[in-house]
């Protein structure tokens, strides 16, 4: 069976270490570790960057309009 040796930093408890280890294992287990990667193909990474930027811009514009509607209601004295 595999064994793991844990070296504790000064002031660190075994419970702290256990929590960090579990977080690391969960990250690898979920697949979300891939969030740190770029696409190997730079063209695909360019597409991803564009898709992310599109949504951020859309959401900001959308929120501005939403807040405008709320302001309209407030200004009307509701």
């Amino acid at each position: 069976m595999a064994k793991v040796k844990i070296y504790l930093e000064k002031g660190e408890t075994i419970e702290d270490a256990e929590m960090q280890l579990r977080k690391a294992l969960d990250l690898h287990d979920s697949g979300d570790i891939h969030e740190r990667q770029d696409y190997v193909d730079p063209a695909m990474q360019h597409i991803m960057d564009r898709l992310e930027a599109m949504h951020e811009e859309m959401y900001k514009e959308m929120m501005s309009e939403v807040i405008q509607e709320i302001d309209k209601e407030y200004d009307s004295g509701y």
């Binding site: 287990d29 697949g31 929120m63 309209k72």
Partner: protein, 302 residues
Amino acid sequence: MVTSEETLEKIRKIVEKHYQKLLISVGGRDIFSEQELAQLEAAGVDTSKTESLLELIYHHNFKNAPSDAGKPTSIEDMKAQQNQVGGKAKGEAHEFAIKHINSQMRDLTEKLRADATARIASVITQNNENYRRNALQNLTRPEEMDRLVKESTLGDLKRALRDTSGDANRDWKRVAITETSNTIGMASVDRIVADNQKADLNDVYVYRIIVGDEATCKWCRRFYQDSDGSPKVYKLSTLLANGSNYGKPKDSWQPVSGATHPNTRTSQIVELKPGWKVLPGGGQTFIGMDKWNDYIVNKAIS
């Protein structure tokens, strides 16, 4: 202050309009039917955009194998390549593939729109409740004080609404990465199938190159990397038969041609022709047909 149901309904329409605009930006106007386009135009949405990033991804990965020299490295390069004669694959099979990709993206974006709407409605409802309870406890509050409380509540509401962008951007990124990866897988498999028109797909061998560093998850490592560091080799028929991992619990995940799991930034499926051996890193070396049969048997192909 309390946001009325009437304003909330206007907000729902604003969210719907913006997500539809996003879909047109990503998939082009063909992502909607003519009837839907007419409704969108009537609502003031610009539906003139024809270019589809999803279609760009498909044709790029159909036309260009990972080892091809001089392949496009940017969106502009991809457009330039695909605008040339023969730059895009033609035919019903490809049109159907793109329709499927568009339809998938549309369904997932619809879910995101519904989530965003629910999140915003929840923030507004919570704000309404907070103000209402506060008002109940301060029925005799002077008008000026009431005005100040309303302004403060309005400020809190705006902040809370803007804070929803974090979750929304993260959810979109997950969908965008996963669907891009699915399209990469589909297009590369389509190329391999087109290159092996008379072959039995049981006799077509493929693999996927993974980066294999500490940012690679255990699933990708287990499914696509062999014990000697070289990619695992599969029969194409096996990967296709495994279908998709979408909606499956983790313990049912299998090696697939598309996205193995959400957030995966996958590479293409690559063909290993008879007589060739795949090396760690995904390169290939020629070993000849005599050694090929032993190699394939020893590789424990599934």
